[in-house]
Symmetry: C2
Subunit: 275 residues, 2 copies
C-alpha cells in the first residue's frame, strides 16, 4: 500500500470513529453504516455515497466484491484496507469488511410532494430508537412518501435507528422542520393530519384516510402532546379489548399504515408485488 | 425483626436469585417479577401468588401499601424486608420495593377452549424476546384467548419477555405442546390455522378468519418452517410495496390481529371500551 493511501485510511478511520457522535454527524451532515446489506440498500436507492471502506480479505463474498467494483466504476471513492484496520472501527461481532460514509439525505419541507406515496409519517419524539426504526421499516414497506421529524429531539441517523429500519430509511425522503412550519405547510397543501390517541372518539377504521395524508405518532408513554393534538385535523383510536393498557407504538403505526394500504383503490393495490 | 423471619427473607432472596436461570424456573414452575405494575397486573388477573416481597420504605406510594395489605388479607404470604435486602435482588435502576414470586400459569392443551377470545396465537421459535413480548402485548390488547407455544425453544417466563408484554402475558392462557399434538388437536376441533408468509398466494385481507382460529407466526428471519407450513389450513401474506424486504414480526402480528378484530360482527366490536 502506498504511503498516501495509508494516511487517507488512517484519517478516514478517525472520521468514522468521530461520526459515532451526534454532534459530529450534525456538523458534517454525514453518517456511517457498516455491512453489506445497508451498502446494497443505499446503492439500490441511488443515494450519493462519500466513501466506501473495504477489506477484500474480510468481504469474501464474490457478490460483494463485484458490487464494490461496480460502485468504484461509477466514480465512488473506495478505500481498501487491511482486516485489522477495518476491525478497528467495526462495532459488530463479525466484521463484514465493508462500510459506507454517506451524506444524510435530508429534503427541505418545501421541496416534498405531499401527494407522494401512501402518506407521510410524522413524529416529534420517541424514546426508543428500536421503535422509531420499526416505524420507518413499516413506512418503507407500505410505500409511504417519507418521514417528517418535528423539532430537534430525534437523532435520525443514530446507527441503532438506521439499523432497526432495515433499509427503510433509505427508501424514504426525510424532512426536519418545526411544528409551526409543519402546521402552516400542511394547511397550505390542504393535508389531512391524522393523530392516534387512546382518548379519541373515532375508531381508526372509521376516520377518513384520503391523500394528501400526514399521520402523526406520539411519544410512547405520553402520546400526543396538546401542541401535536392541535395540528391534527382528525384523531383516531385503536381499540383495546379488556384491561390491556396500550399498544407498542411500532405496532400501532403498523395497524394504522396497513389500514391505509387496505383502503387504497383496488387498481393500485393490485400492483403490489408479492412481498 | 424476628430471627425466623430473617432466615426466611434470606432464603427467599436466594431463591429469587436462582430464578434468574431458565433451568430453575423450569424445575420449580415459578417465576419472579419486580415492580408494582406487574404485581397489580397479576392481582387484577386473579393469578395465584406464592410470595410477595416488600420493603415499605422503598414502596412509599400509599396505593401500593394499601394493595399489599389487601393481598395479605387474602392469605398471600407477604415478606417484609429492609431496603438493602430488597436492593440486593433488584435489577432495576430504582428498586421499587415490591416483587412477586408466582407459579407459571400454564394450562394443558386439552383444557383450553379454542373458541375463547378473538383467536389463539401460536409460535414455535422467535429470536427476540422483545418481539415475542410485543406480540403477547398485542394479543392481550385484541382479546386473544391465549398463546400456544410449540416445542421447547421459547423460554416464556424469561423476565425480558414478561416485561415487554406489558402485562399482556397475565391476561392470556398459556399452553405448551408439541407440533404433532397441536396438529391433532386443531384438527379435532376443526380450527382454522392461519400462517403468515411472504410467499403465500392470498393477501391477509382476503383469507377467511372465522373462529375457532389459530394464527401462527414464524421465526424472524426464516419465517414458517415446512413443518409449521404443513399444519396451516390457510396461508396469507401481508403486502410489501416496492423494494422493502419484510416487516418486523411484532408489526406483522399486529396487522393480522387487528384485521381479525376489525372483521368481528359490529355487535361485538361496539362493546370495545375506550382504549
Amino acid at each position: 500500500m502506498e504511503q498516501s493511501n495509508e494516511v487517507l485510511v488512517r484519517s478516514t478511520l478517525a472520521r468514522i470513529r468521530r461520526l459515532r457522535l451526534r454532534t459530529v454527524r450534525q456538523r458534517t451532515g454525514l453518517h456511517f453504516i457498516e455491512g453489506f446489506r445497508p451498502f446494497l440498500q443505499v446503492t439500490d436507492a441511488h443515494l450519493p455515497i462519500e466513501t466506501v471502506i473495504y477489506s477484500e480479505i474480510l468481504a469474501q463474498n464474490p457478490i460483494v466484491q463485484k458490487k464494490v467494483r461496480l460502485t468504484k466504476r461509477d466514480g465512488v471513492r473506495v478505500l481498501r484496507m487491511s482486516p485489522e484496520q477495518f476491525r478497528s472501527i467495526s462495532l459488530t461481532p463479525r466484521a463484514s469488511g465493508i462500510g459506507t460514509i454517506l451524506p444524510q439525505h435530508w429534503t427541505p419541507l418545501d421541496q416534498i410532494d405531499p401527494h407522494k406515496g401512501l402518506c407521510w409519517v410524522v413524529v416529534r419524539a420517541l424514546r426508543s430508537p428500536g421503535n422509531l426504526g420499526t416505524i420507518i421499516r413499516t413506512a418503507g414497506a407500505v410505500g409511504a412518501g417519507g418521514l417528517i421529524l418535528l423539532e430537534d429531539s430525534i437523532d435520525l441517523f443514530d446507527p441503532s435507528i438506521v439499523r432497526a429500519s432495515m433499509g427503510g430509511i433509505f427508501r424514504l425522503q426525510v424532512v426536519r422542520t418545526t411544528i409551526q412550519a409543519f402546521a402552516l405547510w400542511s394547511g397550505q397543501h390542504a393535508c389531512d393530519v391524522l393523530g392516534t390517541s387512546p382518548t379519541a372518539d373515532s375508531l381508526y377504521t372509521e376516520v377518513p384516510m384520503a391523500p394528501p395524508l400526514m399521520v402523526l405518532f406520539g411519544e410512547e408513554r405520553k402520546g400526543l402532546t396538546p401542541e401535536e393534538f392541535a395540528v391534527c385535523t382528525h384523531r383516531a383510536r385503536i381499540p383495546i379489548v379488556g384491561s390491556a393498557d396500550s399498544l407498542n407504538v411500532g405496532v400501532a403505526a403498523g395497524v394504522i399504515l396497513y389500514e391505509m394500504l387496505r383502503r387504497r383503490p383496488a387498481t393500485t393495490s393490485r400492483s403490489i408485488p408479492n412481498g
